[in-house]
């Protein structure tokens, strides 16, 4: 059961819907920005590292196009009589 304070508070709990739109719009913007940063910043840092003469951090490509390029050739693909 609600006390008189809680009853008084519950009179104001109807939030105008435009606040939800504004908050969630900003949340989506932050989320999209976060994903862009996550994808591009490591590459940008790698490029800067290369430009100043260092080595770009390498990360194995685990999925998407080119994912197979770094893999070792499986034994069953080597024709008989050929060395590795």
């Amino acid at each position: 059961m609600k006390n008189n304070f809680q009853e008084w508070q519950s009179d104001f709990e109807r939030v105008p819907p435009e606040i939800e739109d504004r908050v969630l719009q900003q949340a989506r913007t932050f989320s999209a920005f976060g994903k862009v940063v996550e994808v591009f910043v490591p590459n940008a840092l790698g490029a800067v590292a290369l430009m100043i003469g260092g080595e770009a951090p390498t990360r194995p490509v685990t999925h998407g196009p080119g994912a197979h390029l770094d893999d070792e050739v499986p034994l069953w693909r080597i024709p008989p009589g050929r060395d590795l």
Binding site: N3, F5, V23
Partner: protein, 198 residues
């Protein structure tokens, strides 16, 4: 074999929603959190700021703050307590800036004498008629208003209120007592010796 029933997103606990939001950055999880607490936050902002326009802006700012600080939430308190503490502190800061007044608690105002350390029962407030309570609360300094709201609306422990306001437990106990005394004084100013009980 018992069928596996997928849990609905609205059935997730606050902690599950936070963990999933931080992992996937999917705003769907944050939306559920927002809908769970927006009403309470908005109501607190209206009560504290006494202005609907400001309460709207404050609610928006508070949820953006919550969103940006979700990773810092450590589960030392419940999520609701954490959100409400951001809300109260935001509103107190806003009032301080708006009115340029450092006087936030009754003891700062100095109307209640330090000698009157008489403990008043909760019934002094809890048995007031709602419309009278509203008028009394409106005339309290913002700090007192916040402290009474934390105690009687959010059922916060003294320790939790202390953490929200950055004060010791004994200071909070003293401030609750003074806020009650001041409420009684305001009641008597408005309604004379009309009995508090309904």
């Amino acid at each position: 074999m018992t069928p596996v029933v997928a849990k609905k997103i609205t059935d997730y606990t606050d902690s599950e929603l936070i963990a999933r939001y931080l992992r996937d950055q999917n705003t769907m999880y944050f939306t559920v959190l927002y809908r769970r607490y927006a009403g309470k936050v908005f109501a607190k902002c209206i009560s504290m700021l006494a202005d609907e326009g400001q309460a709207r802006d404050a609610t928006q700012d508070i949820f953006i703050k919550v969103l940006l600080n979700l990773a810092k939430f450590t589960e030392q308190s419940s999520f609701s307590t954490w959100v409400y503490s951001i809300t109260y502190n935001y509103c107190i800061d806003m009032i301080r800036k708006k009115k340029k007044m450092p006087l936030i608690f009754t003891e700062d105002v100095g109307k209640v004498s330090k000698e009157t350390n008489q403990e008043l029962p909760d019934s002094v407030l809890l048995e007031m008629k709602q419309e009278r309570l509203e008028k009394v609360i409106d005339r309290l300094p913002p700090g007192d208003k916040a402290i009474l709201m934390m105690k009687y609306i959010d059922d916060m422990q003294i320790r939790e209120i202390g953490e929200v306001l950055g004060k010791t437990e004994s200071a909070i106990k003293m401030q609750i007592m003074r806020a009650k005394q001041r409420s009684q004084m305001i009641y008597e100013e408005i309604y004379g010796h009309d009995p508090i009980e309904e």
